[in-house]
Point group: C2
Amino acid sequence: MNITIKDVAKAANVSVATVSRVLNNKNNVSEEAVQAVNRAVEELGYSPNFLGRDLRKSETKRILAIIGSTEQTFYSDVLRGMQDAAFVDGYDILIATTRNDPEHEMHLLGMLFSRAVDGVVLLAPKLDSKTISDLSKRYHIAICLERLDISDILCVTIDNERAGFDATSYLIGKGRRRIGLITTEVRSQSSVDRENGYMRALDEANIPFDPDLVFYGDYDADTGTRGCEALMSLANKPDAIFSISDTISIGAMTYAVQHGITVGKDLLFFGFDNIAYSHMFIPRLSTVEQPCYLQGKTVIEKLIANMKTDEPDKSTYMLPHSLILRESTGD
Amino acid sequence: MNITIKDVAKAANVSVATVSRVLNNKNNVSEEAVQAVNRAVEELGYSPNFLGRDLRKSETKRILAIIGSTEQTFYSDVLRGMQDAAFVDGYDILIATTRNDPEHEMHLLGMLFSRAVDGVVLLAPKLDSKTISDLSKRYHIAICLERLDISDILCVTIDNERAGFDATSYLIGKGRRRIGLITTEVRSQSSVDRENGYMRALDEANIPFDPDLVFYGDYDADTGTRGCEALMSLANKPDAIFSISDTISIGAMTYAVQHGITVGKDLLFFGFDNIAYSHMFIPRLSTVEQPCYLQGKTVIEKLIANMKTDEPDKSTYMLPHSLILRESTGD
DNA sequence: TTGCCTATTGAAAACGTTTAACATTTGTAG
DNA sequence: CTACAAATGTTAAACGTTTTCAATAGGCAA
């Protein structure tokens, strides 16, 4: 039923080996044969079965990017960077979502064990560090946008602690002393790092840390709304709020706007990620921008390099972030 | 180097056939053998190589979802629906992005020709209908969120013409006569259908169509901003604007808000998609909601059904949409 | 005892490709 | 004309599975 390399060989009057060589542009084959084979391929509408090829070569030229969900719009740029880097080496990037379920994440890693892909990039690992670290000894795994507390695996990320510090310090520089923090219940390393940066900034400014000013929730806008409500209900209200994501910040600002609080004056907001909507929402949100495209590009370059050597690079790379200042901080 | 089924067989003192049978839970194997094999698998840390399996079985249990980019947040729900449906039949959903390049879309379809996946769902086809229709005769392809003008391929979508009609009619019902339309330069079928619905609504209300009221752009917020600016610069300004996406609408509203136009009164806005941000942006956006999760779930169910039969279902299914009314239409 | 059935097992073929090893032809120098 | 190298072609093994087929062993009825 299906056309195989054999049929092409027959049609072109050559051996299957010759066909294979033509298809893989090996040099030791006559111009004549090339023509014949190409004609036959065209005629029969043949396209090689990768299952056979991959099995023989023991490689698939595919890399799997594992993300929680496609909801986070800024993944888009990361993936673009990944694709661009993959393309130059002839790799394809596939994406799969875990829906933030560690079990499903493990299931997807199965594609690595079973050789369905050559490597994996984890964009927001939910599995514990130990497990990932162990697996990375046997397979090609890299982390992007995050880092592991066990640092024996390739990571490409930003310095989230420093970024949290920078954002908070900026608010302090604006004369704010009661700075709220809205963060996630789930302890991703990046959240923890950002929180630590927040703490360090307070500390260095001799502002005592007040646990009442920290609100824990999900990674969504509703958390921001509820967080802002909770913080503004305190006897001693905050005069600024730093959130570990723009989505949260936007939710928080929605609350403020609707309750007659003047954003950028009564209350400053600092977000994180610089998502597209952050400069559309009015007042515009000040935020931390991370180099998404570059992180994606870098992680794939490093990962592919690792695949070619047997002395894999297990470093953690921290790319530079920057602050984007807009109306929500009175700029 | 790598552990294969042979190694397991040796360790368990059985043949490879028996190992394979155990691994695939065939019934005709003794309890004794099952134990031995499982022990050996455990000991060696074996996991089967799918390249071998897939080649032999000529199936991969993988379906590829091809999208333009992950920027459109509402894909998230569609993909969730797809995954849930795939899971019950033991399939995995992989995602790949074309970056809206038809050539790259064709490249990704190559995974189908080369048997790297069993089927493909196109979420926003950029290739011409004829090409897709031809391919669908040889491979398992379905379309989701869109339809083809050639209707001999499985599609799961909504009635976009009707939705455009409904949204526009609603604005007319609010007493509006000069209704602007912001749509995309790129002629996706859904955009065309929505535009046609807009036209029909005008027609049925005996409002003459004015080409000046139509603004063409991209699928982003900036288009909305520029579109709103252009339309509001007309001598004869619109009193309502329907956009074929929420992102565009939000961009358009941003312009209005910043120029002192009272949204919901001076100017009504109607969007499309009901993205998460559409009810966070103030004023809140009225919009058309389509059943994302259900469309994703349905398309995979139908596609998998098609894989099991040789009388494939080539119908177009239109699932029901609904209008969400908020402040932007004065509700 | 014999014959027959069932349950379990293993050997080997098959999936479609790549590639190492070998064989043949052609070209060139001596 | 021979000898040898280069170029090209062929054969068959290999990749890791699943599955067909045949074989074996044991149980049971006659």
